[in-house]
Subunit: 319 residues, 2 copies
């Protein structure tokens, strides 16, 4: 694979991070830019929590909790136990090692660094090769309109465990925000050979990225092909509330609805082989690529990454 | 002992906290106010570190590391290990449990609470009875002039391990600061039966308190007696750099020099029985009380507290 071909991955947390790990093993570091959702970010206990950025960072650094897919392996919880003892909010589970990273990020932000710069610094210290780029340096906060009122994202996602029914989703601050310079640079890169929308939640993790001014247009006007990996497998989400939200938003829980959601953006869709029959109706409109999309171990992450790069190469008419 | 008699203790960190623990067992909670040095406080990793306040708090809550005398028992250090891994400053040893308290304090300060209020909240949550009061809600920062230049207190004390020779000590911000309202209230309390200057470092821990506008005058004009417990035992400091600093400031390392340092403030001085001969020259000028002042266990802390209250009672001419 030519080293001059560069790829852009758009991703959220756990599911996206798994594919990004695969991509990082298939591509050279200089070939991969990962743009990460920051709509889930929030201020908590005086720290800036960036769940998706940190999940991707910990995954690529080999530090992630292997079963959970987020947070740290070998984590301890003593700081949070004290926070609880002192009567403060402990519903958001921050481990001690994770807090160490948050203290460093806070210090760097207070020194005047942008979130892109703190991320570059931290991933550099951890020896991560590919560029991990927040979608924006501006504050964008996902808000979920539910049957219990409008909830800040983490209140919906963690505190209320996604139980309220979703009526709508907003990305406060997005309209006035700019994509980060690293994101813009990747979109304008003449060597860009393809864009991969990771199997993250389209509504909560990918839409914030797409909501930034100019991003949809830039993606649809690219010479390079754009593909998404469907986050549904056998009509279900592997993890998280994708299927539940689709029902609440009155969408069929189907690959077709995922394709419909990304209307105008995609040159191809990667669909789990279990959904071959269900996806047949899309095929006349959009090139599909069927393969195994469940990523249980490193080999399956690398396997899906290879499938995605191969599909992009086919779509570009190359080899 | 009459419950109407109230006492004020002035203290710094480890040594002072030990006597305060003794006092808390000898007096009712409502009888004791502890005013604590905040000149050692500093901002670090985006947190407000208050070493003396926290040492007193942890000691009275029964949470302090028993051998060290500061920090937490059963502490873990995972957050700091990450801070170090990420290349940030780790010379100041913040444990995970300790960080939990710091996150809570930071959150409360950001909500607009004064340091007095955060301290009252935290000590209340930990079930501490006596009032723990920072000397001031203003930012006062001890600076140490040394042969290696002027150092912020913790840089001198922790990072440089008190190795530079001290030429002078300043309390930046003190002149413009006010004593905290809890401190002023204790000084003006008609029921005040005595003041105890704990066996803390006179130059680094007690002088910041005395440097606040009006405090020296208020203490010297009190009807109630003021006593200090000499921090020297057999001509040496139990812990910390008191003796070294006295030499560097060209003072004899003696009880007489301690008495001289507190000139005009004291109605009596408690001196370790090992210093009976050395202290004889003071006796004509200042009432002395000789006893065991080394506090190794709870019984000896209670013992010294009883001696101090007894001495104050004698000085007041009561019983």
């Amino acid at each position: 694979m030519s080293r001059n071909k560069r790829y852009l991955a758009l991703c959220g947390g756990v599911g996206g991070a798994k594919l990004v790990l695969g991509l990082s093993r298939v591509l050279e570091s200089s070939q991969l830019t990962v743009v990460v959702n920051t709509g889930d970010d929030f201020e908590h206990l005086g720290l800036l929590i960036c769940p998706d950025l940190d999940t991707v960072t910990y995954t690529l650094a080999g530090l992630v909790h292997p079963e959970q897919g987020w947070g740290r392996a070998g984590e301890s919880w003593n700081a949070l136990a004290e926070v609880e003892r002192l009567g403060s909010e402990s519903w958001f589970r921050l481990g001690d090692r994770d807090i160490g990273l948050h203290l460093v990020r806070r210090t760097l932000l207070e020194q005047g660094m942008a979130l892109s710069e703190t991320t570059a610094y931290i991933t550099g210290q951890l020896g991560i090769g590919p560029a991990i780029v927040p979608m924006s340096d501006a504050e964008i906060r996902t808000e979920v309109e539910t049957d219990q009122g409008c909830l800040a994202f983490q209140h919906y996602f963690v505190r209320e465990r996604c139980e309220p029914a979703v009526r709508g989703i907003r990305f406060a601050g997005a309209r006035a925000a700019k994509p980060s310079s690293g994101f813009l640079q990747a979109l304008r890169d003449p060597g860009l050979a393809g864009v991969i929308i990771c199997p993250s939640n389209p509504f909560l993790s990918i839409d914030p990225i797409l909501s930034l001014p100019g991003v949809r247009t830039a993606l649809s006007e690219l010479d390079a092909p754009v593909v998404a990996v469907s986050p549904l497998v056998a009509g279900q989400a592997i993890k998280g509330p994708t299927a539940k939200i689709m029902q609440e938003l009155r969408l069929p829980v189907s690959v077709a609805a995922i394709a419909g959601h990304y209307t105008g953006l995609l040159d191809g869709l990667i669909v789990d082989h279990r959904d071959r029959v269900a996806a047949a109706e899309i095929e006349p409109c959009l090139p599909l690529h069927h393969c195994e999309t469940i990523m249980t171990d490193l080999a399956s992450k690398i396997g899906l990454a290879e499938q995605a790069i191969g599909f992009l190469t086919t779509l570009a008419g190359g080899s």
